[in-house]
Symmetry: C2
Subunit: 320 residues, 2 copies
């Protein structure tokens, strides 16, 4: 981030016609965004939304309430404009593109060994990397992939320790028996992939999916391009967390868009030092929580960049 | 609300291309809104924002960090488009109007007796009532009035009991000595106005201000017109609470837009049974928290009314 822009944005914030700090989190978000854009008075004009889809071999274990063919069906729904993410991107003025990655070639069942080869991993990361529009001024990444909360839980378990139960939840809505099975599968995944716990990129390769790797690639490229990122929920955050654990500070250009109802999202965000902007019991993925949070970030910026100063408005400032 | 529209909206929600409940609070908000608009598939097209301003005799007691002339200065800032509420209304597509009520005639110091006469109260309520556009499909009310967190704290103390300290906070930012003084003033207000604790409209008359009474009038008229309301922070909620205590259920057409950083807002919302949509440490008033929450409500409605159903999209539903 640009230190001069941060200092100038902070000075501007102190002159705006409001009591100091009265816009709360909005003030902090505006200054953070100004730093990454190297502009003390920026606006969000060109947000980009990327949705990646992948299929997961582990679905054969019965970890999801939905059949694997729903992934390709939902991709068609995204392309036809019928999903929640379509509506929220349109409302936020975000340019949405959908990238289905080898849906007819699921990852391997990671309870038996690595989900992906190194070549598969690099290919998926590259798809994410290339999908970022260098002209965008904000990025959100979302996903679709039946079985991918199991993948995200296994990654979180590898990165952050604890027990499989700490990181495994109901996803799209499995019952008690489904949750018990899913927890067992997550534990087995760590046993079958001993390198995952000591190397974050190995966790992504062995336990991830193509859509998670693509999200990580896109978020990393955004960092290089100084495009601020709004993280979505549990799966997006797990993918992003591999970057943070590989390179400390790698997510400084990212904020948490929302707190998912998936219970393990809260401890994952806490481990990353991120406070979610929204908390609305959402657990859909697709980038929906992040897309909604764009509106809050836009609100922060229109206030910061559009408000009059005390001097401009002829308003008396408060007691020092 | 319209029971048929609620039933139809609930049925529609169950068919949309997402796992049941995956949009969390957005689903509940969409169904609530559909009921009040008597339309199972509504959109928010014409939100209205009303900002009322008033001056308070109690300011002579030194309860605010800002001088009383800031009220009229900020009204000029609203009219020139320079305040936070201007930026947020523009972003939300809300039609904003500002109503300054007798700024050169502050209410009486309520530590000495009633803030307003019955005629003053009725006049201010009528200004709010008349300001509502019957063609609006959503209403937010905001306020400006140096000293009005003291008024709101006194109203809350009268309506909800407890101690003066329970309801008194730093407002725009008074120091420890200021907070102690303000707490004393709130306690004195209840002693000087013995009818306030037993009659909610007496609380509004004796302890309120013209801008609080106008907000109450606008919110009541919205109820009659079946226009859903998003409440703003501490002061707006205190004004609205007088309606709820006078007529149970009078705020069923209202949701809490945000949780203010003013500490007494949380217990007041709890007493009203309202869960805030946003919690961003804001404490500016003007309607800013509510204006930001319009975007969340809009997001809920574009999902509800714009998404495809499982059948329309050819997507397989999950396990029953």
């Amino acid at each position: 981030p640009d230190a001069d822009a941060i200092a100038a944005a902070r000075a501007r914030n102190g002159q705006l016609t409001k009591p100091p700090g009265a816009l709360g989190r909005l003030e902090e978000l505006a200054i953070w965004y100004a730093g990454w854009r190297a502009d003390p008075r920026p606006r969000i004009a060109k947000p980009q939304a990327l949705v990646f889809a992948g299929n997961h071999g582990v679905v054969a274990r019965g970890v999801s309430a939905f059949p694997a063919e729903v992934t390709v069906q939902m991709v068609a729904n995204f392309e036809a404009g019928g999903a929640a993410i379509n509506q929220l991107c349109k409302a936020a003025g975000a340019d949405l593109s959908v990238h289905a990655i080898d849906l007819d070639r699921p990852t391997a069942d990671f309870t038996q060994g690595p989900a992906m080869s190194e070549a598969d991993l690099m290919e998926a990361i590259a798809i994410g990397w290339e999908a970022v529009d260098p002209g965008a001024d904000l990025l959100i990444t979302g996903e679709m992939g039946i079985g991918n909360t199991t993948s995200a839980a296994a990654i979180a378990h590898a990165l952050f320790g604890g027990t499989a139960g700490d990181w495994t939840g109901r996803g799209t809505g499995v019952d008690d028996a489904g949750l018990a099975l899913k927890t067992t599968v997550v534990a087995e995944a760590l046993v079958a992939n001993p390198t995952a716990a000591s190397d974050p990129l190995e966790a992504l390769r062995c336990l991830g999916g193509r859509e998670l790797a693509a999200m990580a690639g896109a978020i990393a490229h955004a960092r290089v391009l100084r495009i601020p990122v709004v993280l979505d929920g549990f799966i997006c955050t797990a993918a992003a967390a591999t970057l943070d654990r590989a390179v400390p500070g790698a997510l400084d250009h990212a904020v948490a868009g929302h707190l998912s109802a998936e219970h393990a999202h809260a401890p994952m965000l806490a481990a990353l030092g991120k406070t979610p902007i929204l908390s609305l019991d959402m657990r859909l993925g697709e980038g929906t929580g992040a897309a909604l949070a764009i509106q809050i970030l836009k609100g922060a910026l229109v206030c910061h960049s559009g408000m009059a100063s005390f001097a401009e408005a002829g308003v008396a400032a408060g007691q020092p």
